[in-house]
Amino acid sequence: MLDNVKIPEALPSVETKNLSVKFNGRDAIRNVNIEFKKNKITSIIGPSGCGKSTLLRSINFMNQLIPGCRVTGKIFFEGEDISGNDAVEVRRKIGMVFQKPNPFPTMSIRDNVIAGLKMAGSTKKNIYDEIIERSLIQAGLWNEVKDRLKVSALELSGGQQQRLCIARTLAVSPQVILMDEPTSALDPISTMKIEETIHDLKSQITIAIVTHNMQQAARLSDITAFMYLGEMIEIGKTSGIFVSPVKELTEQYVTGRFG
């Protein structure tokens, strides 16, 4: 579609077609079409209120919880239309990490990681320990917590809590993880660690990340999408979007002239 910013060849893992979201009749996003390529990192940038988070939260049906919210259009997962599917099923395949670290305060680190499995009624109790270790290693937290898995999750620092939330999401083995500004509440060092984690996850998982930090988008992602006022303005290879965007608006935004 856009010739000078060729998107890397890969199958779409998640795809939206004419996705629109209204809150109490007011448009939040309009007719958004985007493909999240398999095993690539896609970042969504744009000024506050442009609908980045709304787009992300619609994909795993989180918006649908909010009274007065209406979602239209289609969402495809691995080529299959999931728009009318059961939210619980969808969320097990498409996980989410939120802006503020939100571990379960009454649970230990260990229980936080396996919360999703336990509640889903998993009978694979004998492999819990294996899953806990694997998820925490993937999230880059294992070495810091392996000797105190039984302490409350609240004893961790903010950055560690966020990596615990990533581990918790990984434990249910999703194919896609949506990240809604996962580092905006964290210090630079924690941010760096989480970016490393995200980078390492790419080989196994498709990642979509909403960010306000353009350097982060540039560092991390293969594909960047720019949204403005609820519409998808431009999608392209990250280097293309930041160096030679097609649309005037994108260039103004990435060069810091507004937003």
């Binding site: 989180m62 919880l65 969320r91 939120f98 503020k100 939100n102 305060p105 009454t106 889903a120 609240l154």
Partner: protein, 289 residues
């Protein structure tokens, strides 16, 4: 000119300071008046009932007039048994209603239920007693512990519903989202994540509801009635602390008055201890971020 201005400012400041001191003194005076009755009750019941309070008081049956000693062991046991009966349905119904009103707020049904539980909490306890009398005592043809426990359970429901709802609303929404995003179903999220996070607050509510129900006399007067003997049969009339106090207090005998005071002391101590426990629990509460 300047000096005059300064003086005027100073007078204004003095006046403001006076007003502030006056209001503060009035508030302190009101607070003292508010707690004075409690202190007075506490000292008076201790002074009047202490002489009748001994080990026998907790283990013996009430003695007929004229005999020395005796206690209200059966009344203490009866109160506990009837609280247990009330709890078996009052606590789960109260909590589940609280969950419904909080977690499914917004639906017309939940608004109506919230309104109705508020009304229920305002209904005088004697009306609950009459209702239970009509529903159970008249049907079964006799006073019973079951009827008394039922009345106490009904009284507990609105308090528990209210505290559950308020405590659940304090749980941040991000926690619900975290759980749902893991593919955990809504009911499991409500029960195992949200309710668990709010549990210390809810236990507080339950303890306070129990303490309140333990002291209720009106709903027991014509449901469990009272009993001068040890009875654990749920189908028979059963003694309870407040009703026993009432019976002792309206008697013409000095000894029995003392027993009534001692009973009152036990009740107050119970409420006091429960409040103390509640304080300790809420202090240790998990901090939510």
């Amino acid at each position: 000119m300047l000096k005059e201005e300064l003086l005027r400012k100073k007078r204004k400041f003095e006046y403001r300071k006076f007003k502030s001191t006056l209001m503060l003194s009035l508030s302190i005076a009101a607070s003292i008046i508010a707690v004075l009755p409690l202190l007075y009750i506490f000292f008076y019941t201790t002074a009047s009932g202490a002489s009748a309070l001994n080990f026998d008081f907790f283990t013996n049956l009430p003695k007929p007039f004229g005999e020395e000693g005796g206690g209200m062991g059966n009344a203490i046991l009866g109160t506990f048994i009837m609280l247990m009966i009330g709890s078996t349905f009052g606590i789960p119904i109260g909590i589940m209603t609280g969950i419904y009103v909080s977690e499914y707020s917004g639906s017309v049904m939940s608004v109506i239920i919230k309104f109705l539980t508020d009304v229920l909490s305002g209904i005088p306890s004697i009306v609950i007693g009459i209702f239970t009398y009509g529903l159970i005592v008249l049907q079964t043809g006799k006073f019973s512990a079951l009827a008394g426990g039922f009345a106490l359970g009904l009284l507990m429901i609105p308090t528990i519903t209210r505290t559950t709802e308020e405590m659940l609303k304090l749980v941040p929404n991000t926690l619900r989202e975290a759980s749902l995003a893991l593919g955990i179903t809504k009911w499991k999220t409500s029960l195992f994540i949200v309710l668990k996070t709010a549990s210390s607050g809810i236990i507080t509510g339950i303890l306070l509801a129990l303490a309140r129900a333990a002291g209720e006399t009106a709903p027991l007067l014509f449901t469990s009635f009272g009993n001068n003997f040890w009875s654990t049969s749920l189908n028979e009339p059963m003694s309870s602390i407040p009703v026993q106090i009432y019976n002792f207090a309206i008697s013409p005998y000095e000894d029995w008055h003392k027993m009534a005071w001692a009973g009152a002391f036990v009740l107050i101590t119970l409420v006091f201890v429960v409040n103390l426990i509640v304080r300790i629990i809420t202090k240790r509460k998990f901090t939510l971020n």
